[in-house]
């Protein structure tokens, strides 16, 4: 059975993602939390980069939305969880969207698949015409 990734509970922050500046802010907020959580420098960079990709997808493909982030805890292990949500067109073929190099636009097609590799937990909930929710978690080692 696949367990759903931890979502932020308790103290958390929600940012709108409606412009390029918001993507930069989202990235900065995730970095701050990753530092607070004492993730290693490599893991910080990986999480920040994944967040950058997902925030940009929310903006570009999902027509804007929100990012919700917070610290999570599982059996004494700490982590950072980020949830990217939009009410855009949804992803009709998830397997295709997660294929390296596949893009519906002019991108590199590595954001979604790359974000999955850069994080410890990764889940997508999407429905055509309804929108997309992507949840990621990075744990301390």
């Amino acid at each position: 059975m696949i367990t759903a990734p931890a979502v932020p509970e308790g103290e958390q922050q929600t940012l709108p993602i409606a412009s390029n500046d918001d993507v930069v802010r989202a990235r900065q907020l995730v970095r701050t939390l990753a530092q607070q959580c004492k993730l290693s420098l490599v893991d910080q960079t990986k999480l920040v980069t994944a967040a950058s990709e997902l925030a940009r997808n929310t903006l570009v493909h999902g027509n804007g939305g929100t990012m919700r982030v917070g610290l999570v805890d599982k059996g004494g292990r700490r982590g950072v969880s980020a949830v990217f949500q939009d009410t855009g067109p949804g992803i009709p073929d998830l397997e295709l969207a997660l294929t390296d190099g596949w893009t519906s636009g002019g991108g590199m097609g590595l954001g979604l698949s790359g974000a999955r590799r850069l994080t410890d937990e990764f889940a997508i909930d999407t429905e055509v015409g309804r929108g997309t929710v992507v949840t990621v978690v990075k744990w301390t080692r």
Binding site: V24, V42, S52, D100, M108, L110, L118
Partner: protein, 285 residues
């Protein structure tokens, strides 16, 4: 029409002893600007405005948005823009216009007709004053926008490191607009300096995502089309691991650990030995 009558009366009041009134107006305004604008300039500006105002009233009546007032609006626009550029405050700018009210302040001897004309002047001056403030703030916004752009330009210094070698250090969080500006500037500098080697140093970049990578790759390809070669330097370990995990391939692009390594490589490529270059630098000291 009643307002028409008042406009005509106002024209009469402002024309009688017109010179005295203008003089008082100029003096009052110059006081608020405390010598930060030359008296000569202020004199010319306000005299022009005053005659345009009387002419506007005569030809256009009370409708200050109408055709007859176009000269007044043009002069006010010019005045507001100049003040905004010269760093005067919005209050200082608008006060020049509002001070017109002082010229016809009624007293106990004022006839009812003149009082009505004064109220009309008040109404007009209020409208023109607000028009001035609006133009002023539009100009300020334009200035701030232009400054932001300049800052963007300034914060992306493309430097010539050696004859034939240019470099750009990327620093801070890269958004799409900034990366675009940097890359365009780099390509332009390659042309302007006739250089064949470009170094993009990313030591100061905290994260490279697919968008930034795409800009980098496009720049390298564009430089190649121009007959130049790009080296990317300063890819720190955490960035390298992230790029690999993302699946980005830099292909046959030359990458170096440090800017110094990249410069050595570039010098060799243009046929200058790094040792000879170092000797030249020492000799020049």
């Amino acid at each position: 029409m009643a307002e028409r009558q008042e406009s005509e009366r106002l024209v009469k009041l402002l024309s009688q002893q017109g010179d005295v009134l203008v003089g008082r107006w100029i003096e009052g305004v110059s006081h608020t600007l405390r010598g930060r604008l030359s008296v000569l300039e202020l004199d010319r500006e306000l005299r022009e405005l005053y005659s345009a105002l009387v002419e506007g009233l005569r030809a256009g009546g009370p409708d200050w948005r109408g055709e007859g007032w176009s000269e007044v609006r043009a002069l006010l626009t010019e005045l507001s823009r100049n003040r905004a550029r010269q760093g005067f405050s919005p209050t200082e700018t608008a006060t020049a216009v509002f001070a017109l009210k002082e010229l016809l302040v009624p007293d106990t001897d004022t006839s009812q007709q003149d009082f009505a004309a004064y109220l009309e002047l008040n109404r007009l001056v209020d409208a023109l004053g607000l028009f001035t403030v609006e133009t002023y703030s539009k100009t300020r916004e334009e200035i701030i926008g232009a400054q932001a752009e300049q800052l963007l330009e300034l914060s992306t210094p493309v430097v010539k490191l050696w004859d034939g070698v240019v470099a750009v250090p990327l620093v801070g969080t890269l958004d799409s607009a900034r990366t675009q500006v940097v890359m365009e500037k780099l390509l332009q500098t390659l042309v302007d300096t006739g250089s064949e080697q470009a170094i993009i140093d990313i030591t100061g970049v905290p994260a490279v995502d697919t968008e930034v990578a795409q800009h980098l790759l496009k720049t390298v390809v564009a430089a190649r089309l121009m007959g130049a070669e790009c080296t990317i330097s300063g890819i720190r370990p955490q960035i390298a691991q992230t790029i690999v995990a993302l699946g980005i391939q830099f292909g046959d692009i030359v990458t170096k650990a440090t800017l110094a390594d990249a410069l050595k490589h570039a010098l060799r490529r243009i046929g200058t030995s790094p040792e000879a270059a170092a000797a030249t630098v020492r000799g020049a000291r």
